[in-house]
Every structure is written in structure tokens, then in C-alpha cells.
Symmetry: C2
Subunit: 254 residues, 2 copies
Amino acid sequence: MRRILIKAAYDGTDYHGWQEAENAETIAGNINRALKRLTGEDIEVMGASRTDAGVHAKGNLAVFDTLSTIPSDRFSYALNTCLPSDIRILSSKEVPPDFHFKNIKTEKTYLYRIILTDIPDPLRIRYAWDISFDLDIEKMRLGASFLMGEHDFKSFCSVHTDARTTVREISHISVEKEEDEIRIWVRGYGFLYNMVRIITGTLVEIGRGKRRPEDIPGILDALDRRKAGPTAPPNGLTLIQIVMDQEAIRDVKL
Amino acid sequence: MRRILIKAAYDGTDYHGWQEAENAETIAGNINRALKRLTGEDIEVMGASRTDAGVHAKGNLAVFDTLSTIPSDRFSYALNTCLPSDIRILSSKEVPPDFHFKNIKTEKTYLYRIILTDIPDPLRIRYAWDISFDLDIEKMRLGASFLMGEHDFKSFCSVHTDARTTVREISHISVEKEEDEIRIWVRGYGFLYNMVRIITGTLVEIGRGKRRPEDIPGILDALDRRKAGPTAPPNGLTLIQIVMDQEAIRDVKL
């Protein structure tokens, strides 16, 4: 039995998220089906991040176990021949049999794209949230700065969570603007359910003037989801990459 | 009877091109159906550019005639309520009843996107041609420079054309590279059928080393489609904008 680590990119628009579910097309469900076709085995792929319905990824990671003789680095090519074109396996590699994401420190990078427009752009609407009012980018930047570092992010977590602790660390957050597009970059060690989307919804309310940047510390202190802004729509969010702690994974590199 | 000019943006992926056709979803067909719902009239919208199946637009233009009392500038909003989200009407305005694209000099700007990648990126594949070999950008630029200005572009026109003359003028052509993406910008007064896609296919062969940049003048002189490169796939092509000669259209502006 070998454990294989894969890196996956996908357009989440037409999927009910990563996690396999009955009567729903999911990313994991499609990968499991492709693995069945390739190996004949009933394999359940385990994702490093269970992205929500409509959320995209440029580099999610996942592992699975197999008895097949397909060379580890050829699984990506083989899987791509069995997957729809909006899901691609970018690479594959064997990892130790005890490899598990929960034992490894990972830094995840998310990008949330917003377009400022009265009429949604059909060429970007799959990948961005269209907003028809102006946003004060400087206020959004100031608000974001209060989220840097380690905090209890309970207020920025959907109530449907089963996380043991809601303390997380954001190692980088920035708000960029280029023409009519705003890009919110968030990097950190572990994220809570809907955390980046709630951060985005709150920063948009700040940019719109409904809240002040200085309200963020109070929202964090409240430990109450109702104190933060709305959950931004999923289509604007992309999981860009997951970097694993090098010591933990020894010579494994994707 | 009023003549209304509209500007349309669309993701062409799921459509069989602009032109209405039986048993096929088209851009014009959807706009005609939306106009029928709004006005009750059987209206045929006339496009400035009949984009091919799979080709996108950020600013195609079209006109239609109507007896309805909907204010001219409200047609865009009204139409968007009846159209699928991958087709958006960006603006609408009344034009003189004798307005017709064939009487107006228009400058069209096209963008062709190429991604250099072994594995297609699911987040860009709808809008770009994925190529797995390296391209020499400097050679492509040199090749493109020979296409500038007025030429007989018969060699760069699909044989299925009904154009009276194949002489056209390219006012701007450039090849940009940013990270793993190559962007070919082409601007000109009127284009032949598949012209930008054949130019792209030929420049890619130059970039790959299968042809030399200096071959372009000979290809033009041959007046023979078989001398140029292949037709690049439609998904990489976007009609960015159409600028109408200001004198011809008087105070009409979209």
C-alpha cells in the first residue's frame, strides 16, 4: 500500500465543494471516481482543505492510499485522462504511509477577488464578487491590518464549525486595487469555516462606510459571529496554494 | 419605430457563436428571445461582429428596431433581467433610423490569450489556449510586425468567406508576455473570417521555430490560406471593443 500526495486545481463553479456527498457533484467525488476507473479500488481521497461549494483552487492538496502499480509521479497524468476539464491534477508524489495533514503545519494562501461594476462582467463573474458601490480601499487596508497575527477568530467563523479552538494566525493580509478590481490576499496557518469570506464581507462593509476600520478589534473581542459582516459569496474565493512545513514532510515536495 | 444600439459582453464558451441558428444556443438568439419577452415583438438583432462559437466579447455592438415604449437607455437593464448571466448588455442608446454598421468605419480590438503550461489551468482554460511547448516571444513580435498596416490578408482568411475584398488594415499588433501568459493584441478596421485566429496560429508556429518571422511577407504574397499556420482555438479569443468613427455616428456614444 502506497500513500500518494496530489496537488489539484479546479474551477468550483459547477461543484458542491470538495467533500464527497450523495447526489451531488463534488471535487473529491470526481477524483474518487477517476481513481476507481484507474485502479479498480474504492479509494477515498482526503483533502488538506475542504473548499466550499463554488470556491476555486489553484493548489489544493490531497492524499490517498492505493495498491496499484501506477508510478507515483504518473498518477497526475493518469487521473487527468479520467477527470472533467475543470478539475486538473497538477502533480503527484509518494509520501510516507503515516503522512497526514493534521500532523503537518501548513500555510494556506487565499485570494478573494471583487469587481467594482454596475453590470457584472460575464468574463470574470465566475471568479469574482461584483459590487456596484464604491469601496474606500485605504479604510479596508487599515481594517485588515487589525486582523494580522494571532487572534481568536470566533467572530469570523461560521457557527456550523466543529473546530476545537478558534485561535488562528494570519501571517499576511493585503488589499490591492488594479483598475476596477480589488484583490484581498490572506495567508495563514489554518483557517476556520468561512473565515476568509467573513473577513471579506466585513472589510467590504468597512470600505462602504457602514463600519469603521477601528471596529475590528471590538469584533474580534466579542467572539460572536453576529458582530462581523456577512459571508461574501463563494465564487470570489480561490485557494491559491498550501505550503507544508518542510521539516515535517522531509524530502516530499510538490 | 426606434433603432436601438446596444453594447454586449459575453462568455462564449457555452454558445454556438453570435449568429442565430436553429437548434443551437447563440448570443443573438438569446437576445432576440429576451427582446420578445420584453416587447412582444419579433425582433432580429444585428451584430457589428458575428463572433464564432466559443469566442468571447467584452464589447460587441448590435442594433435592433422596436415599437416599444421602453426608454432607450433602460433597454440594457431590462434585457439583463431576461438574459442568462453569461450574456450582459452593458449599455443601450437610440441611434438614427438609417444607422447601419456597414456604413460606419469601425476599429475593432481583439485579444488572444495563450498560457504556456503542461497541464491546462482550470481557472483560465475557458479564456485561453494552453500550449505545452516554449515560444520565442521576440520572434513572434518580429513576425507580427510584418502584419502591420494595409495588406491583402487572403492567406489569413478561412476559405469559407464571402468577403468582396480581402484587403484589410491592421492598425496595431503587439505580443506581450507576463509570467506564463502570452497576450496577442490586434486592432484594425474590419477583419476577415478567422483572421485573428489564423494570425495567432501562424505566430505560434514562428514562436515554436517551425517558421521564421521573415516568412510572413511571403505568406501574405501567396494569397493562399494553406501557406499560413493553423486556426487557433476559439476559446483564447475575446473581442475587446469596437470603436465607431465619431463623425459617422454624430452624437451617438456608448
